[in-house]
Amino acid sequence: MSLLAGRWWDVATGAGLLAAALAATALLLALLGANPLLAYGDILAGAFGSVSGLTEDLVYATPVILTSLSVILAFTCGLWNIGADGQLYLGAIAAVGVGFNGLGLPAPLLLPAMAAAALLAGALWAAIPALLRLRFGASEVIVTIMGNFLAVTLATYLIGGPWASGITPATRPVVAAGFLPVLVPGTRLNAGFVIALAAAVLLSFLLRRTVFGYRVRTIGQNADAARYAGMPVGRVMFAAFALAGALAGLAGFCEVAGVFHNLPNGLSPGYGYTGIVVALLARLGPGRAVTIACGLAALNVGSGSMQRSLGIPVSLAAILEATLILLVLAVRMPQRRAPVAPG
């Protein structure tokens, strides 16, 4: 086993599982009367065939990286954050709210203020399930999912009511000082992607090199042992979950300030759920999560162009992702249940 249990074995297994997932999805497509090879070809062409495709991959990857980091931090501490989607929405709401600049902040301060508001809003939204879980034992799985529905409800209300633009199904735009700079002129790729990469580096450092990270990992592996060792288990779990919410909130900020410059209806096509898929496939490693997020983003962007040219719905990407995860679960079990090593 030791000979095989290396990085290359992981890569080979991953490639095999990916092939199996592609084959399973191809079967479904064939059953529904579509040509899977044509579909996959279109996905590849859409994702990698042009500069706009390549930059769109990274635009899509930005919120996915951040939500996956959010999920990773919570999972590493033994908590389930299914609510990254809702925290992202709250972050976006806060960023837009500050971005209207009703406070009259000077231009250089506006972006930091929007980011801070988004971080705080995401953290507070995540603090509710954390508190209910730690204080009353309410399953954070259910509460965070309800948080997603409530966040969408709130966003829809704001978009349709108090913040309505009156023209598009979106809020009024934020002022120009609240736009993140574009990295490649003529595309939507913006500084949000750099923020996401920086967050991955920071989280990796936090988990591996700080006392807080050590505590988070220990609690995730064995909360009883951590308690016995004198760690403030409840407080660390609460802080980890709130910080996880802040990361997802930051994703909301990047979407608002970098891509949309307002809060549109249906802001997130399920970034929070894709983040879970990424976190699991990355075995909770922030570095691996960046790579995998970019890969799944390419899949989604490619599927979008496939939908336009072939009429096969973009939900194909979700099916592929879920199939891949289920195959990993089926193969890895039971020795490697919930992977806990950050890396």
Binding site: L28, L132, V143, V277, L329, M333, P334, R337
Partner: protein
């Protein structure tokens, strides 16, 4: 609206009727989850199974013109999804929450893809006639509760029938004893010579079938159409009512009615207008879920072996030194998650 109008029977009787109707899909899913959780399986994938049932039921009802075949097909789709969940969690020992989350993505995606490929191209969206109401003789003439409870469609009466049936099945039959043992003390069940795996698979198949039936009830019998996202969190609310109802069929049914009433009230208040904007009232059932799951959790009492795979057949391997392979710690973490 005036307070006196809120107190009148004219307000509450139709509300109760709407509440019963809205509660029915939830009731099916909740009763299924009672059986699954009593066997030790936490099915976070109900939402997806309901969506799959809603699509399969709708497609079949449109195709055959028979709503009952549609409902049956929805249940069958849920059953198959339940078996997939069971294969992963019971036979392969995968974590139930991860599996459930992934199953949701898969099932919601599949239902959406299949619907768009099957019906998406046609301009006119096919619609089904809603099931006709069936007024039960004598019962529907009872004062106050007659019309709301007994002037419904026949699928609602199937729900009523299932409440005592599930109770009997779980609490009073030999199979129910096995189910309870699989969730409470699988080692004992195993030493009695009964396969824990088989009992759990049967339980999740049952739970999946009822979730699929719940979804099909929504699309075939109530809405008459399939729409992406139509389940709207009912699958997760079903998890909450299972906890809140203390894993007992009768109490879970009462909790479902509570949710049905809350949803009906919310819809009614949107129409008449209140101080709270209509757009925010939609969130009421979700808020109620948070409240209910918090109260339910305070009482505790998840089946002892919930989210614990039973792995006797493959001898437990010793814990590896490398933290990435630490099964014991990881297992414990997930275990604690669910049993605070």
């Amino acid at each position: 609206m005036t307070p006196s109008a809120m107190l009148s029977l004219l307000f509450w009787v139709p509300l109760l009727g709407a509440g019963v109707r809205i509660a029915t899909p939830l009731l099916f899913a909740g009763l299924g989850e009672v059986v699954a959780e009593r066997a030790g399986l936490l099915n976070v994938g109900i939402e997806g199974m309901m969506a799959l049932g809603a699509f399969a039921g709708f497609a079949l009802a449109v195709g055959t013109g028979d709503p009952w075949l549609g409902l049956l097909g929805g249940a069958l789709a849920g059953l198959l999804a339940g078996l997939l969940f069971g294969w992963l969690t019971v036979l392969r020992g995968a974590d139930q929450i991860v599996t459930g989350v992934a199953m949701n993505i898969l099932a919601l995606g599949t239902a959406s893809l299949a619907y768009q490929m099957r019906f998406g191209s046609s301009r006119d969206v096919p619609e089904l006639p809603a099931l006709a109401a069936l007024r039960l003789p004598w019962l529907s003439t009872l004062p106050v509760i007659g019309r709301p409870f007994f002037g419904q469609t026949s699928i609602v009466y199937l729900g009523y029938l299932l409440i005592p049936l599930v109770w009997l099945l779980v609490e009073r039959t030999r199979w129910g004893l096995h189910v309870r043992a699989a969730g409470g003390n699988p080692e004992a069940l195993d030493s009695a010579g009964v396969s824990v795996w088989r009992v759990r698979l049967q339980a999740i198949a049952f739970g999946g079938a009822l979730a699929g039936l719940g979804g099909a009830t929504l699309s075939v019998a109530q809405v008459g159409a399939y729409v992406d996202g139509m389940i709207g969190g009912r699958g997760f609310i079903a998890l909450a009512v299972t906890v809140f109802g203390g894993w007992r069929a009768g109490r879970v049914a009462a909790a479902c009615l509570l949710f049905g009433m809350a949803d009906a009230l919310q819809l009614r208040l949107q129409l008449v207008g209140t101080a709270v904007p209509a757009g925010l009232l939609v969130g009421l059932p979700y808020l109620l879920t948070v409240a209910v799951v918090t109260i339910g959790a305070g009482r505790g009492g998840y089946p002892a072996a919930i989210n614990q795979p039973y792995l006797r057949r493959r001898a437990r391997r010793p814990a590896r030194a490398h933290p990435a392979n630490a099964p014991a710690g990881a297992l414990q973490a997930t275990h604690q998650e669910i049993k605070p």
